[in-house]
């Protein structure tokens, strides 16, 4: 489909994360796991094998510390994971700009995990299992994934569907800003994460993406991520381009 034939207004959803505000509480990680039907960690799960679509890293510089929430960076037109996938299981949705992962198509080769410069992709080493009774807390708007496939953040895409349904019920054609907000944004008690449409010049993210002190992770790679970070501290901004950020724990999975 070429873009001109599409009737819908296209959006480019993005996040602006203010690193100076993040306290490292981890509420975003919990909200994300609950929203996206991520099962409790399997007993064999390790640092490398657990699933955390968003993960707060602690970075140190001498006596100073900062907390950096890292999730799928929702790369622009040409994400590395889309390139390497032999199954066409990853694609950029032109209507929303969201990089979508299709577990039904995924064959579990994990090329995308190797290609992703942000280590934002996770492999299902086990079939999902919920303790008895907890299945009642599952989110019906998100399908659970099976063993042997890769998954990652999709900006709580189920909430986008739900927002569109609510808009239709109210007789609106399009969803309004604020109708659709990912779970981590909603959960953050410090107001660290802002979410919105970059194509909407009035949105807070559009302003934040251009603000002084705004940066993106590994920008020199040209992946054009849609997650904008912000810090007034020079050393925090410096980690964005460091090949091996000075993290407390090593972040390689495989």
């Amino acid at each position: 489909m070429i873009a001109e034939n599409r009737k819908n207004k296209t959006a480019r959803y993005a996040m602006a994360i203010d690193v100076d505000r993040c306290t490292g509480c981890g509420a975003c990680m919990v909200a994300c796991a609950v929203e996206n039907n991520i099962p409790p960690a399997h007993e064999g799960a390790t640092e490398r094998k657990g699933i955390t679509w968003i993960r707060v890293f602690k970075v140190n510089s001498g006596p100073h510390a900062a907390f950096v929430p890292v999730l799928c960076q929702q790369c622009g037109e040409d994400p590395p994971c889309v390139h390497v996938c032999p199954q066409q299981a990853v694609e950029v949705d032109p209507a929303t700009g969201i990089v979508g992962q299709m577990p039904e198509r995924c064959l579990g080769c994990r090329y995308c995990m190797a290609a992703c410069p942000y280590h934002a992709r996770y492999f299902n080493w086990w079939d999902p299992e919920w303790p008895a009774g907890m299945e009642k807390a599952l989110n019906p708007d998100v399908a659970p994934r099976m063993r042997g496939v890769v998954e990652k953040c999709n900006f709580c895409h189920g909430r986008w569907h739900a927002a569109r349904q609510r808009a239709a019920a109210e007789g609106k054609k399009e969803i309004q800003p604020g109708d659709y907000v990912p779970a981590c944004v909603e959960a953050c008690p410090a107001g660290t994460i802002q979410f919105g449409d970059l194509n909407d010049p009035a949105s807070a993210v559009a302003a934040a993406s251009k603000a002084a002190g705004s940066f993106r992770l590994l920008e020199k790679l040209g992946t054009e991520p849609k997650i904008y970070y912000h810090s007034r501290r020079d050393w925090v901004r410096g980690i964005a381009d460091a090949p091996q950020p000075p993290m407390g724990k090593e972040n390689a999975r495989g």
């Binding site: 599409r6 009737k7 949705d93 239709a168 109210e170």
Partner: protein, 194 residues
């Protein structure tokens, strides 16, 4: 007597086609009848009901689907006609307050996000567009379920002879994609998948 090669080939081919077109579908689908011989036709014509009278939207925009017994019992607490089907329905389900185990032809798999209200209210589609003409449906057909996936035959694996894909009553992914493409609304998998 020597059987001519051509005849042998033809017989073999017919047998193979028979296995593929008749034998395999019989083996892969298990079918069961609906619990009640519900007639959409009688309800539409004699009772003058419209689709929304029983298959309604809830206040939050979600769709209620197949009505539950209390909806039926609202009218059929006592027999309204003289048919055997209705008498049996009241005896077996309404009086003992037992929910009929309807089989849903159109239920989509859990990885599909289908919203009725975006299609009916926002896009102004008629029910018949996907569900076919139910007003003249007098007796529910057999429900066929794929033994491996558990999906209804209506939503997956219609016969390949169903060409072109866009016909009434189509609910396979191919039908969804064909309609979205025609209207310029096809963007990516995430349009419908979750």
């Amino acid at each position: 007597m020597r059987i001519p090669g051509k005849l042998l080939f033809l017989a073999g081919m017919l047998a193979a086609l028979g296995v593929g077109w008749v034998g395999f579908p019989l083996a892969i689908y298990k079918s069961r009848p609906q619990p009640v011989d519900f007639s959409h036709k009688v309800h539409a014509e004699k009772a003058g009901s419209s689709c929304e009278d029983c298959h309604a939207f809830r206040a939050d925009g979600t769709f209620s689907g197949i009505p539950t017994l209390d909806k039926c019992a609202g009218c059929h607490a006592a027999p309204m006609g003289a048919t055997v089907v209705e008498k049996k329905f009241i005896e077996q389900y309404v009086t003992p307050n037992r929910e009929p185990q309807w089989a849903s032809y159109a239920r989509q798999p859990e990885n599909v996000y289908f919203s009725h209200i975006t299609h009916v209210k926002a896009a102004q589609l008629k029910c018949e567009q996907c569900h076919g003409d139910q007003k003249s449906n007098d007796k529910p057909r057999l429900y066929q379920e794929d033994r491996i996936s558990g999906y209804s035959r209506d939503i997956w694996g219609r016969p390949s002879s169903r060409v072109p894909l866009r016909t009434e009553g189509g609910m396979t992914m191919g039908d969804c994609v064909a309609c979205h493409r025609e209207r310029g609304l096809e963007h990516s998998c995430l349009d419908c998948h979750k």
